[in-house]
């Protein structure tokens, strides 16, 4: 679980940075179509999936720690 969380963090950070670069480049040269080509669409899908998975893992961890806190009291 922790390992998956760690990888998801890296995945979302890397893809997020890549898309920031794409957005900046797209402002300078929209004809190169950085943000809307086949590869970037797949990368965007990976970013979305990574973010969702990261959220789910985060919620599960939150739930687990809340349960532990409830049990303690």
């Amino acid at each position: 679980m922790n390992k998956a969380m760690k990888w998801m963090n890296h995945l979302t950070a890397i893809l997020g940075m890549m898309f920031l670069v794409f957005l900046v480049l797209d402002q300078f040269n929209p004809m190169m179509n950085f943000t809307d080509n086949t590869v970037s669409r797949w990368l965007l899908a990976a970013l979305c999936l990574g973010a969702i998975a990261r959220s789910i893992l985060g919620w599960r961890r939150e739930g687990g720690s809340e349960r532990k806190t409830d049990e303690q009291y």
Partner: protein
């Protein structure tokens, strides 16, 4: 640092990984030459020219393209008879096209031997105030699904040979800034207007195969680049300008010398030049490869935007980012009527300030064009006349993946 600042460490690691991924992405998409396959389609060219076509393509269709290819084949078959008769009606010199290379792959004209002086024909041009772009054009292209040049059917159907007969000469006549022959008439002029310098090539072609395009390294794909002068020299072109730099992206319509290389239109406007000499500029959403094949597309470019509205009116608003709309070096193509075109290259980022898109629209309106289309600009904007670059390319210019050429195709005598 790793244990003290785990967040910073992870960020740096991820930034490095992202940089690596971007480098790989750029290498495979834009830098490393990567030959790609065409759709293996011939456009519905006139039968005689088709028979003489030198291009024999054996490329296989990719799975994703097969459906479009089959549909286009059907459309081509259906349109074949129609196209043959129409082509004969609108273009008289098919016999010559048979004798020529047909595909326009090899221009045989000798470049005009001129001195090293600029294109000559300097004119004071119009008043600088004339390019203010005052009239309202709006985004007319968005309103009409397909914006063709405002040319009446009657105009289209008059054989070009008759229409511009006075422009052509039996003998080749070359001057410093002009060239005329049996099939071609080109006049190049340099215009200084305020702080803007631009070059206009007024072109009449009797045979549309004189209006060619060249691919860098004579190969379709990404990562291939060549100088405009180099491509012009290779094809024996009289005049050349940069094209749409199709190799910069993997999407967008690419039809070159009658061969469809790519048919996946984007949001960008598409400019199509047909065998009958007409030129249409349409939104990418309206482009259909079946229609293009049925109508006999000879060239198609994806860059844009369209510079004139559906009835040739000036456009004052463009959906491009401000950075793109602002004053820059430009290359654009203008269309008057079948057989009559102009190529315009505007210098910028130097002594000449460059031109904004609304100003460029105004310029084409004043030139009298009924349709106009913006091609790749910035450092790419280059015009070659004979064997010499006649403009002052920004940053010394750059290599491009394609060029528009005007060349002789007649196999003479």
């Amino acid at each position: 640092m790793g244990k003290k600042h785990p967040v910073l460490r992870n960020l740096l690691l991820d930034a490095a990984a992202a940089g690596l991924a971007l480098t790989v992405f750029a290498l495979f998409h834009h830098v490393l030459p990567n030959k790609q396959q065409s759709l293996n389609l011939q456009t519905a060219r006139p039968a005689t020219a088709q028979a003489s076509a030198a291009e024999t393509k054996t490329e296989t269709k990719t799975e994703t393209e097969t459906a479009a290819a089959q549909a286009a084949d059907n459309a081509r078959a259906a349109a074949e008879t129609k196209t043959e008769t129409e082509a004969e009606k609108t273009f008289t010199p098919e016999v010559r096209m048979t004798a020529s290379t047909g595909t326009g792959e090899t221009g045989r004209g000798s470049p005009p031997g001129r001195s090293s002086s600029r294109g000559g024909g300097k004119s004071s041009g119009r008043n600088s105030g004339g390019m203010g772009g005052n009239s309202k054009g709006g985004s007319a292209l968005e309103e009409s699904s397909e914006t063709a040049a405002a040319v009446s059917d009657e105009a289209v159907n008059v054989p070009i040979a008759e229409k511009f007969a006075d422009k052509y000469t039996d003998e080749v006549i070359e001057t410093e800034n002009s060239y005329s022959s049996q099939d071609l008439s080109i006049t190049v002029s340099e215009v200084n207007e305020g702080n803007i310098t631009y070059y206009v090539a007024d072109i009449y072609v009797r045979d549309i195969t004189c209006f060619q395009t060249a691919l860098a390294s004579d190969t379709y794909g990404s990562g291939f680049r060549d100088s405009i002068a180099g491509m012009a020299a290779l094809k024996g072109a009289l005049l050349a300008v940069n094209g749409d730099y199709y190799g910069n992206t993997s999407e967008g319509v690419v039809i070159r010398n009658g061969t469809i290389y790519r048919a996946n239109a984007t949001d960008c406007d598409v400019c199509v030049l047909y065998y009958d000499g007409t030129m249409k500029v349409m939104p990418g959403s309206s482009f259909s490869v079946e229609e293009a094949v049925a109508d006999g597309a000879w060239q198609a470019w994806t860059f844009g935007p369209a510079l004139l509205g559906s009835s040739g009116e000036v456009l004052t608003s463009f959906s491009s980012p401000n950075r793109i709309i602002s004053a820059n070096p430009r290359t654009a193509i203008g269309y008057y009527e079948p057989g009559h075109y102009c190529l315009v290259v505007v210098d910028g980022r130097g002594e000449s300030a460059g031109i904004t898109l609304p100003q460029l629209s105004q310029l084409f309106h004043e030139l009298g064009c009924s349709a106009a289309y913006n091609l790749d600009g910035g450092n790419s904007s280059i015009m070659v006349w004979g064997d010499e670059v006649i403009n002052n390319p920004s940053g010394g210019g750059r290599e491009s993946s394609d060029a528009l050429l005007i060349a002789e195709v007649r196999s003479d005598e």
